[in-house]
């Protein structure tokens, strides 16, 4: 137990230690300052020249938004095409995997383009190595790059004074991939490789077991895909069981590295905000607010998982290792709880245990974590979501002290409040309406066969699926027969809306902030880097999420918890 706890603390400690210098580095990359990785610029310039993009051309928010959408549309079309014709591609398909069905291909392409990585297929049987690398792995890079580059636009918007330009999305996007994601992925992939995770183009391996049968074991170029999957808050597994599979997560050391990778960039981006704007204290306040929520979630989930399942306890069976259903013995209950909170906080979505099998309280926490979707959050977009809460908190806090609200000298007016409210509103809208349609269908047609579990848990399964899709998380509660046209199309659409509207809105907001003149700070202004503002921010974050989702959570995990 104590070693488990030590593991949890060590993971968090290492993450925060590593995130600080990384944040400083990312800020320099965004600003175009001198960094060690400048040797890559000839390569970047070559790419930009081929695409005839002038990296120094600054664009306003509308042009940047169009650039982002255009690029993502190309990625999407490329992916859906490859998935539907993978059988005909002559290389990297040793297991002769067939083409993907249309609605599943739509779901998969949107899922990976939107950085969600919700999987309604199983990697071993659904994808060729070509698709794994040039669709999955490729999208895992570019979707993460899209999120990071968008955040860079927001940062620029906050420092601009009465100017329209927010930088060049193409250039920022390229640098996010080459300077941030690529070097980190190489390091993490090597760690994975050294710990025995496979990297091969060979097909199924035939192995003779101790009992004497032969089994076909799926392998592939796993280690590099898993590295970017974790670092880019993607989470889509190479294999069906995701990081519970030993080839995706070999031992406790890979588990530690993977968990750190999940949290690293999202946390570093909070610090990058502090370095970029030279507002380190404010970054600490933001980090503090997120970390309070995060640690509360981790500690309660870890407590509930370590103390075992009450239903099993009722049978008179002692559970010294905690509730172990659906968990890997090599990681244990506490590390699985930490992973669960990390992966739902950051919109990563990879799992090293089955979330479906966690105790109801932890399941509820994972749901709430994705409902907030701003505790560190997905790379880039997490901070952007968080920023929407900041706008609302600044607005309320400003009024509370008798001044027209302003954030870092920019007045928060009707337009900003409108955008932030809409973006925040979208998340409950997608989750609640989606789940309502599913619940309605399941209620009038119980024989539809979606749910492996009846009652509250079945409700949690549907709620989780839509929450995961809208939060671009990608983890599944499983137990849901999700590869049906309804779930493929509904979740695909929710993922698209849940990804792009919360990016477009904030870019517009950044544009509007950039155009404003800066109001000098006075002793009557709201001091955002104060503890009092931190309290307002925490209140806004928790209250909005809790108020929006309390009834839904009541009928799912809370009812299950109290009925146990």
């Amino acid at each position: 137990m104590n070693t488990e706890l030590f593991g949890v603390v060590a993971i968090l400690f290492l993450t925060f230690i590593l995130a600080w210098p990384l944040g400083k580095y990312i800020s320099k990359v965004f600003k175009g300052e001198k960094v060690w990785s400048d040797f890559l610029s000839p390569l970047e310039n070559w790419v930009l020249r081929i695409c005839s993009i002038d990296p120094n051309e600054s664009m306003d928010w509308k042009r940047n938004m169009k650039a982002m959408l255009r690029l993502n549309l190309i990625f999407f079309l490329w992916s859906i095409l490859i998935l539907m014709i993978q059988k005909y591609i002559p290389i990297w398909n040793p297991a002769n995997i067939g083409n993907m069905e249309a609605t599943l291909a739509y779901n998969t392409a949107t899922s990976f383009t939107s950085n969600t990585n919700l999987q309604h297929y199983s990697g071993e049987t659904g994808l060729s190595y070509f698709s794994q690398l040039l669709v999955i792995c490729f999208l895992q890079f570019v979707s993460a790059g899209t999120g990071i580059a968008t955040l860079a636009l927001l940062f620029k918007g906050l420092v601009q004074k009465q100017a329209a330009d927010l930088g060049n999305f193409y250039h920022l996007f390229l640098k996010s991939c080459t300077r941030i994601l690529l070097p980190l992925s190489i390091v993490v992939a090597i760690i994975f490789l050294l710990n025995g995770m496979p990297t091969t183009f060979a097909g199924l391996q035939e192995v003779q077991t101790l009992e004497g049968d032969t089994v076909q074991v799926a392998t592939g170029p796993v280690a590099p895909v898993i590295a970017i999957k974790q670092l880019g808050t993607n989470g889509g597994g190479f294999f069906g069981p995701n990081c519970a599979h030993p080839f995706e997560n070999a031992n406790y050391l890979t588990n530690i590295s993977a968990n750190i990778s999940i949290l690293l960039i999202p946390v570093a981006l909070v610090f990058a905000f502090g370095f970029y704007l030279n507002r380190k204290k404010l970054a600490w306040i933001f980090f503090g607010v997120m970390t309070i929520v995060f640690l509360t979630f981790v500690s309660s989930a870890a407590t509930f998982e370590s103390s075992g399942n009450p239903e099993i306890a009722k049978l008179g069976i002692s559970q010294p290792p905690g509730s172990m259903e659906g968990k890997e013995v090599r990681f244990g209950a506490a590390a699985s709880a930490l992973w669960g909170v990390s992966t739902t906080s950051t919109s990563n979505g990879s799992v090293n245990s089955m979330h479906d099998s966690q105790t109801p309280f932890s399941g509820g926490i994972f749901l709430l974590d994705m409902m907030i979707n701003a505790v560190y959050g997905g790379v880039g977009v997490g901070f952007i979501n968080f920023f929407m809460f900041v706008v609302i908190a600044v607005f309320i806090g400003g009024l509370m002290i008798g001044r027209t609200p302003e954030f870092l000298g920019k007045k928060i007016e009707a337009r900003e409040v409108k955008i932030a409210s809409l973006v925040i509103l979208l998340h409950p809208f997608l989750i609640l309406v989606g789940t309502a349609i599913a619940a309605f269908t399941a209620a009038i047609e119980p024989a539809i066969g979606w749910l492996n579990n009846p009652s509250y848990h079945g409700f949690s399964e549907m709620l989780y699926e839509f929450t995961s899709a809208s939060a671009n998380n990608g983890s599944g509660f499983e137990g849901l027969a999700d590869n049906t046209p309804f779930w493929n199309i509904a979740c695909g659409t929710v993922m698209l809306l849940g990804r792009y509207l919360p990016i477009i809105g904030p870019i517009a907001l950044a544009g509007s902030l950039a155009a404003k003149k800066s109001v000098p700070f006075s002793s009557g202004s709201l001091k955002v880097d104060s503890l009092a503002f931190g309290v307002v921010l925490l209140g806004v974050l928790v209250v909005i999420a809790a108020l929006s989702f309390f009834p839904a959570l009541t009928l799912g995990p809370i009812a299950e918890f109290f009925s146990m």
């Binding site: 009707a414 409700f459 104060s530 108020l547 809370i558």
Partner: protein
């Protein structure tokens, strides 16, 4: 006929009017302006229909009485919100009406183009008409004196009993309808059409006919609409959720949940708070031309204040008399007094006052004969030639030097020059007195800083407002007074365009600037300033250019206006916080009530241990309705603003309205439930 400055919060007449108005305001076309309360009205209508449906025994919607009770409670929620708005309007109107009472129909002596005078009713006057007012007449309408000077009793408007002087061609040429001319005869040109005076505009604003939402109010309405939509989603989707969970949920329960969750408290009080802000300005005798102006005042970063009248009392005063050159104290005082007795300038008068204070017996003995020498621009001295031939002169040192032929060479002159330098460096003005061309001593004139002004500036500094003193003095004197009074910056030797340039400079840095002015040459700066307050006695141009008019002509009024603006925003912000955080308790009341029968485990969420599902829902709805009238006094009076620094203020308000808003409804709902459970 002094106006009562403070109306009681609730007068029976006002209450009666407001109750009627609350029902009139139920008109959906009027309700539409307030999206939050409009949804409650829709909920009431739905519940009315459901009540009838529930008459059928197998409707599954609960008892008829229960449904009717919910319907009535929702209706009361809307009525309470309407009442809050109505009472704020009624109080504003009452305040304005007492001002308007002063301007009932009076007779006006209209001057016709042929020079003859025709007596008409004041309501017949048109813009640019010229009329004549004589001692004893009431001025029929706002106008500008184009000929003559008069003393006027403005107590009807300002409550100040001392008469004021108004003169054509000066910065004090404006006259107000309803005030009374005490002496002399003036020719006045009508500047406004009847019904379009500032007061009329203000009354319209308060009555809501032309009340426009301020930018912050719009932003807040958007946020509240956002919350309303979220809770609409929460409630609507709860129906399929509970169907799935095989729980029958009544429409009454869902609508109650919805109404309790949406921010009805702030939604119901929002416009009342806005109107009350305008009303508070009016109560301070400031007529704001728009709500935005009041709001902007609270956001001010920089305030330009004229030195004279604002920071210092009127004019310079003599504070010390220093005899030199062998003159005795008594003798020197006597000559100072003699030279000033016939001097009509404020400085002269203050010398007489000082002399009377220093040597009371001399004043009685001194005769007022002799030839008074007036100040001219050429000699730059004034004084007196006494019957015995003694010539007394006083003036600036260089003028006296010329008069006496002194060259500053001898010992006495050196001493005097030392004194002069000392006085000047302390912000005073030295006046040298000579007797028979012999230098006799120095009179020290000083600006007297208004008592308590330092504290006001310190208060402003804590609010984050920078104070700037504008003066015609030389930089040295200006700096001294600025330090004494505690202003942050000053403009010395100011010309009218300097104010304008300073405002532009500050605005370029993104600051909001407020200033007060009265003269025509102030008009461009008043127009440029974000908050321009004109004195009512000021010229028409100044009043047109500003966005507020101060009826009291009190230069320190600006400081009050800033606090009123801040109070307006603070009240809104804190009631919003209170309203939203209330939802936590309401959830704990209603959600367990919805599901407790079908999912017994959820009774654990009933932490208030409310008696039954019905009483829990009723109690939450009752609390939700009652909190609106309970907060009306707060909305009307405003949350107190304390200049304790932004962070401390935020902490304080978080504790009161945040933490309070979290805890109070738990207690309130529980108490109501104790009563309700006796009946349900």
């Amino acid at each position: 006929m002094k106006r009562p400055k403070n109306l009681k919060l609730f007068q029976s007449q006002i209450i009666k009017e407001s109750i009627i108005a609350s029902f009139v305001k139920l008109d959906p076309r009027l309700m539409l302006k307030n999206p939050v309360m409009f949804t409650v009205e829709i909920g009431t209508v739905i519940m009315l229909v459901v009540s009838f449906i529930s008459l059928s025994p197998d409707s599954g919607q609960g008892s008829f009485i229960y449904n009717v009770a919910i319907t009535l409670l929702l209706l009361f929620t809307v009525l309470f919100a309407n009442f809050a708005e109505a009472i704020a309007e009624a109080r504003g109107k009452a305040q304005a009406a007492s001002l308007r009472k002063t301007r009932h129909e009076t007779e006006a002596k209209l001057l016709l183009s042929d020079g003859s005078i025709k007596t008409v009713s004041s309501s017949q006057l048109k813009k640019d008409d010229i009329f004549i007012v004589e001692a004893g007449d009431t001025i029929p309408i706002d106008g500008e004196i184009i000929e003559g000077i008069a003393s006027i009793d403005e107590s009807a408007i300002t409550g100040e009993s001392a008469p004021v002087i108004r003169e054509a061609g000066t910065d004090h040429s404006g006259v107000i309808g309803g005030t009374k001319v005490l002496s002399d005869k003036i020719k006045v040109q009508v500047t406004t059409r009847p019904g379009e005076t500032f007061l009329d505009k203000m009354i319209e604003l308060v009555e809501g006919a032309s009340r426009q939402k301020t930018p912050n109010e719009i932003a807040l309405t958007i946020l509240l609409a956002g919350f309303t939509i979220i809770f609409l989603l929460v409630t609507v989707t709860l129906k399929p959720f509970s169907d799935y969970a095989n729980t029958a949920v009544t429409i009454a329960a869902l609508i109650s949940l919805f109404v309790c969750l949406i921010p009805t408290t702030i939604g119901g009080l929002l416009s009342a708070i806005g109107i009350a802000g305008m009303d508070r300005a009016l109560r301070a005798n400031v007529i704001a031309k728009s709500g935005k102006a009041v709001e902007n005042a609270g956001d001010n970063d920089t305030v330009l204040l004229d030195k004279t009248g604002t920071i210092t009392i009127g004019n310079r005063k003599a504070t010390h008399l220093y005899p030199f050159n062998g003159f005795g104290k008594q003798e020197f005082v006597k000559y100072c007094l003699l030279s000033s007795l016939a001097d009509p300038t404020p400085e002269g008068k203050s010398i007489v006052e000082l002399a009377a204070h220093l040597e009371p017996q001399i004043v009685q003995k001194t005769a007022k004969d002799g030839k008074f020498i007036k100040f001219t621009a050429e000699t730059r001295m004034s004084g007196i030639d006494l019957p015995d031939g003694t010539q007394v002169r006083k003036g600036a040192w260089d003028a006296i030097k010329k008069w006496t032929g002194a060259n500053g060479a001898n010992q006495a002159e050196k001493e005097i020059e030392g004194k002069i330098a000392e006085i000047a460096s302390n912000g005073g003005t030295p006046l040298v007195v000579s007797i028979n061309k012999k230098i006799a001593g120095v009179v020290q004139l000083e600006d007297i800083i208004k008592p308590g002004i330092q504290e006001r500036f310190a208060r402003l500094r804590k609010m984050g407002v920078k104070t700037v003193m504008v003066t015609g003095d030389n930089p040295l004197t200006a700096k001294y007074i600025a330090n004494q009074a505690g202003v942050d910056d000053f403009i010395a030797e100011a010309k009218p365009e300097d104010k304008m340039n300073y405002i532009l400079k500050e605005q370029k840095e993104g600051k909001l600037v407020a200033m007060m002015g009265d003269g025509t040459n102030d008009a461009p700066a008043l127009a440029q300033a974000d908050v321009g307050v004109a004195m009512n006695s000021g010229t028409q141009a100044a009043k047109e250019a500003s966005n507020m008019v101060d009826l009291d002509n009190d230069p320190t009024k600006l400081l009050e206006v800033i606090e009123i603006g801040k109070q307006l925003l603070i009240t809104r912000g804190n009631v919003t916080t209170f309203s939203i955080i209330n939802d936590v308790a309401k959830y704990f009341a209603i959600v367990p009530a919805l599901f407790a029968t079908s999912i017994p485990g959820l009774n654990a969420l009933n932490i208030m241990s409310l008696a039954s599902p019905e009483s829990a829902i009723l109690s939450a709805v009752i609390f939700n309705a009652l909190i609106i009238p309970a907060l009306i006094p707060l909305a009307l009076k405003g949350v107190k603003y304390k200049p304790i620094g932004a962070t401390a203020l935020l902490t304080r308000n978080l504790l009161i309205y945040g933490l309070g808003g979290l805890i109070i409804p738990f207690i309130g709902i529980k108490l109501i439930d104790l009563v309700v459970s006796l009946f349900v």
